[in-house]
């Protein structure tokens, strides 16, 4: 599958554009780092409260930060796709990249679980109190997954190909 994807992308218009535009790669990297700061900054505040810390912060209102996380995720998806299209042979077979994508998927499913199972009952919670075990689990899974994504992303150049 990886080989087919590499063959498909290499030599494509977008692939050539990314590779032949000298300033593009560093610009994408800067944007990718700005995006990660927005995403992880917002998730850090939301998840720390959801895990039961900083109880003087109204728990439902932390959701005001979700659009910031969403914009960060969007920036990083767009720049990430361009990285991948620009150098598919490097990323597709890289174990670090594969685990990173798996962690993004886990974080996404975790967020979906939160939206379906926990969010609907949140309005009944005391906004300035500790959270239940289900909420704490979602919070810690989210934190571990997103910081794992960050870590694996940074280690892509240093892990072997599989």
């Amino acid at each position: 599958m990886a080989q087919n994807l590499i063959q498909l992308l290499e030599g494509s218009t977008l692939n050539i554009w990314v590779l032949s535009t000298a300033w593009l790669w560093p610009l994408l990297e800067i944007l990718h780092f700005v995006g990660l700061s927005l995403l992880l900054g917002a998730m850090l505040v939301i998840d720390i409260r959801l895990a039961g810390f900083v109880q003087k912060m109204h728990i439902q209102r932390t959701h005001d930060l979700l659009p910031v996380a969403g914009i960060g995720f969007l920036i990083n998806t767009l720049t990430g796709v361009l990285f991948f299209v620009g150098d598919p042979a490097r990323y597709a077979i890289n174990v670090g990249f594969q685990i990173k994508m798996l962690l993004v998927l886990i974080a996404g499913l975790n967020a979906l679980w939160f939206a379906i199972k926990i969010n609907p009952e949140m309005h009944r919670w005391d906004p300035y109190a500790d959270t239940n075990i289900a909420a704490k689990t979602v919070a810690y899974v989210s934190l571990v997954a997103w910081f794992g994504v960050l870590l694996l992303g940074r280690l892509i150049p240093y892990v072997s190909t599989g």
Binding site: P26, S37, H58
Partner: protein, 191 residues
């Protein structure tokens, strides 16, 4: 001095061992996300992006941000040592390190202001009073509107004690400085 740093045992470990460099880079990325993430969220709050989150809660998050900064000072120093003579003449690095230096001092100032004002900024009573005055506006005829506007501004200044223009300026500068730090940091490898 920078040559001496390059030959210290720390820099030899970071520069030549299999895992030294990646470990320091990973720590540096985690610290970055914590520091820039938290300060950015607070600056957005001051600038009015999301109006409901308590200012006082950010005092706790600032503590975490300082831990992040400490992680990055440590990992950054280790990374610097491994190629000290290269970094010290590298323009993006100099932009980055000065942005972080000024950004940290500014963040400290912002934190002191927050400590002094968080309670005032969070107080709901003043906002309620303001809303009442706004609501009563429709009871006045157009001839009184000028007087009312003056009163409104006065009440606003006295009662609505949110962050002032100085706080907004600090927040904007802070965002700019952390962006410059990322910008410089990413360009080190290219220039």
């Amino acid at each position: 001095m920078f040559e001496w740093l390059e030959y210290s045992s720390l820099s030899v470990w970071v520069g030549e061992s299999l895992w030294g460099y990646p470990i320091m880079l990973s720590l540096h990325a985690i610290g970055l996300a914590i520091v820039v993430g938290i300060f950015t969220m607070f600056n957005f709050r001051v600038l009015g992006l999301f109006k409901s989150i308590e200012y006082s809660a950010f005092l706790d998050f600032f503590k975490l941000a300082w831990v992040g900064l400490l992680i990055n000072a440590g990992s950054g120093f280790a990374l610097f040592c491994s190629q000290a003579t290269f970094y010290i003449t590298n323009t993006p690095f100099l932009v980055k390190i000065s942005s972080i230096f000024i950004g940290s001092i500014l963040a400290f100032r912002i934190q002191s202001n927050l400590r002094l004002n968080a309670e005032k900024w969070d107080s709901k009573a003043t906002e309620v009073t303001m809303e009442k005055i706004m609501a009563s506006k429709k009871d006045y005829t157009s001839s009184n509107i000028k007087v009312l506007k003056g009163l409104e501004a006065d009440v606003h200044a006295r009662l609505f004690c949110g962050p002032g223009s100085k706080d907004h300026l600090y927040a904007q500068f802070s965002l700019l400085l952390w962006a410059c730090a990322i910008f410089g940091g990413r360009l080190i490898a290219y220039l």
